[in-house]
């Protein structure tokens, strides 16, 4: 009987298109907005993927990775002295003014890493040599910084981004580019400039305490979580593993910004639109087929069979709509992938969540029809 249910559904072309269209729109809205939201959330924790350390030690009041409350210089040694810490390195991070080659001022995210080990270095250097950061007044900048601070106009050449060997100013001090790296975009949108820790202290305006964070690694055989616990216990500082700091950062965003509420509103609206369109259209489809359903019931189709047929029809349009919505979302993702704007991250869990939402919408739509059919008296077919 299910092939007949499918034929009945596809036979009513207008309703079928409207149902699929509504569910496609709903699926697109939920999946795409979720993707942008997840992309935005991933930006909030991009620091951790750009600097790659197992343990992040910060002031005990710091709740998220983009927040800085300076530590004392001696805290590095306190962390190093904790049992289980293999090594711990200082890190400077601050938003500082830089002057572009055209004279305009831009804000950059300056990262100062330990010059001896270069621990916290970016994952991918695509041009130049990061080892040269040990030379005074040098920086490795990311592609976004090269673009924003560049526009160098060579003789007879079009303006171009900064390259290795070019110079610009950070806080009125000359910085020479020794490498270009690829980073994940930062939540605040500032381009990255990596330099040595000591050089960062030269570039940054002088303050009493300059140490932003400490990056540490556990000794072999120990987990980051165990060592982070030990650091917290012995130093009173906050020490996070990467998953812990990601969770804490994302929780901070949920608590302190309107971003999640805004996206959630759109996602919920997508769900409601889906329920409204699919529910209304499917109910109208059932009403129009009521005499046929009554005839099937008179001929001996049980309520269970008719309900299963309606559910099958609703889930079919749900899955088709979901597939089309997901396809459009993927197309959106590919379209923005190169530019990186707006942020977009389509995770398997998001895909699954949208699928569940669409299945719920379809089931709710079917439920209205099922209630109607369950109450349907088969004798209705004998009435004129």
């Amino acid at each position: 009987m299910f092939h007949l249910a499918l034929r009945m559904l596809l036979g009513d072309r207008a309703k079928y298109i409207m149902l699929v269209g509504g569910l496609t729109f709903s699926s697109l809205l939920m999946t795409q907005q979720n993707g942008v939201f997840q992309g935005l959330l991933s930006w909030t924790t991009s620091h951790m993927r750009n600097m790659r350390a197992s343990i992040w030690v910060v002031d005990s009041r710091v709740e998220q990775v983009n927040e800085t409350k300076a530590l004392r210089d001696t805290d590095v040694n306190r962390v190093r002295s904790v049992d289980g810490v293999d090594f711990a390195m200082p890190l400077f991070q601050g938003v500082i003014k830089a002057r572009a080659t055209d004279g305009s001022e831009k804000l950059i995210q300056l990262i100062g890493i330990h010059s001896g080990t270069l621990f916290g270095r970016p994952a991918k250097v695509i041009e130049g040599d990061i080892e040269q950061l040990r030379i005074a007044s040098t920086v490795v900048i990311d592609e976004l910084a090269a673009e924003r601070l560049g526009k160098v106009r060579d003789k007879n050449e079009a303006p171009r981004p900064l390259r290795v060997g070019d110079t610009f100013e950070i806080n009125d001090r000359e910085a020479r580019v020794v490498g270009i790296c690829r980073t994940e975009r930062h939540f605040f949108g500032y381009p990255y400039a990596f330099t040595s820790y000591d050089q960062a202290l030269q570039f940054a305006p002088r303050q009493r305490k300059m140490l932003s964070m400490i990056l540490a690694e556990p000794k072999p055989g120990l987990t980051a979580a165990e060592v982070a616990r030990a650091i917290r216990a012995e130093t009173g500082l906050a020490a996070y593993t990467v998953p812990e700091f990601e969770r804490s950062t994302i929780a901070w965003v949920w608590r302190n910004t309107g971003i999640p509420a805004s996206f959630m509103t759109t996602i919920i609206l997508g769900f409601i639109v889906g329920v409204a369109i699919a529910g209304q259209t499917f109910y109208s489809f059932v009403l129009e087929n009521l005499r046929n359903l009554g005839a099937l019931k008179a001929m001996g189709a049980s309520n269970g069979l008719l309900s299963a047929m309606l559910l099958f029809q609703a889930l079919t349009v749900g899955l088709v709509g979901y597939g089309m919505g997901l396809g459009l979302t993927a197309a959106f993702g590919f379209a923005v992938a190169d530019n990186g704007q707006p942020p977009f991250l389509l995770q398997p869990e998001s895909i699954l969540r949208s699928l569940v939402a669409i299945l719920i919408i379809s089931s709710l739509a079917a439920l209205l029809g099922i209630r109607k059919v369950a109450r349907l008296e088969p004798a209705i077919v004998f009435r004129g």
Binding site: G11, A298, M299, G300, E377
Partner: protein
């Protein structure tokens, strides 16, 4: 509760036996009693017409006999199976196996082709799709619809649609065929063709055809005719009395 199975039925067992059935619709001031202690019997191998003015309870009687409508009082048995107290699911299964329906408005599913429409009762009875469609196509051909098997109902005339409806009602070889005004939407000639098919169907041993009708043109096909008035049986005509009834109504 089933008191007798419908396996082997004695030829003397009535196809439908309705005793003292009362059926009311609505409550309070809006309460209407459609059947007021009605008795009705249809035998095997007969074409039985139920006639009477609008609102006399014909369709309600038909619905009760078919097991599509619950009644308030009285006893109903179909081919020896007492329907009183039978769980709804068993009644549904009983209808599925033993009752075929022909509706006034045909009630064919417009988005399905003829073979698919006719195969529905077989599919409901668990016959596999390929076999169901083959049997449906064969029956359509026997009813003069060869070459139209894959057409949609809306592509056919009213008479052809009613023939498809008859094919759907007969395809699973039910014992009881219930028809509600099968000729009312048809012209005179087509109406006679349809009645010929139904009369032939009634000749099948162990089968009974009950037709509710307003159409006097169909009276001559009846083996027995029950006249209803105001929720009660006003008369049952057979043989000479039936011929007298027909001549009076022409």
């Amino acid at each position: 509760m089933i008191t007798q199975s419908t396996g082997q039925i004695d030829a003397a067992t009535p196809a439908v036996s309705i005793r003292g059935v009362v059926k009311a619709f609505g409550t309070g001031d809006a309460r209407t009693v459609a059947l007021k202690g009605t008795d009705f019997t249809a035998s095997q191998g007969e074409l039985h017409l139920v006639v009477g003015p609008s609102g006399c309870g014909k369709t309600t009687l038909l619905s009760v006999a078919a097991g599509t409508l619950d009644w308030d009082e009285g006893e109903v048995s179909v081919f020896g199976t007492v329907l009183n107290g039978m769980p709804r699911s068993r009644v549904t299964a009983f209808r599925r196996q033993h009752v075929g329906f022909i509706f006034q408005q045909f009630n064919l599913i417009s988005t399905l082709d003829l073979v698919e429409n006719v195969s529905v009762p077989l599919l409901l009875n668990g016959v596999r799709r390929g076999e169901a469609e083959q049997r449906a196509a064969e029956l359509l051909q026997r009813l003069g619809l060869a070459g139209k098997e894959r057409k949609r109902p809306t592509q056919l005339s009213g008479g052809q649609q009613q023939r498809v409806a008859i094919a759907r009602a007969l395809v699973h070889s039910p014992r009881l065929l219930i028809a509600d005004e099968p000729t009312s939407a048809l012209d005179r000639e087509t109406g006679h063709q349809i009645m010929d098919i139904l009369a032939n169907a009634a000749r099948t041993p162990g089968r009974s055809v009950i037709i509710v009708t307003h159409d006097p043109r169909t009276y001559s096909y009846a083996d027995r005719l029950t006249e209803m008035e105001d929720g009660r049986v006003a008369g049952v005509y057979q043989g000479q009395t039936l011929r007298d009834f027909i001549s009076n109504h022409h």
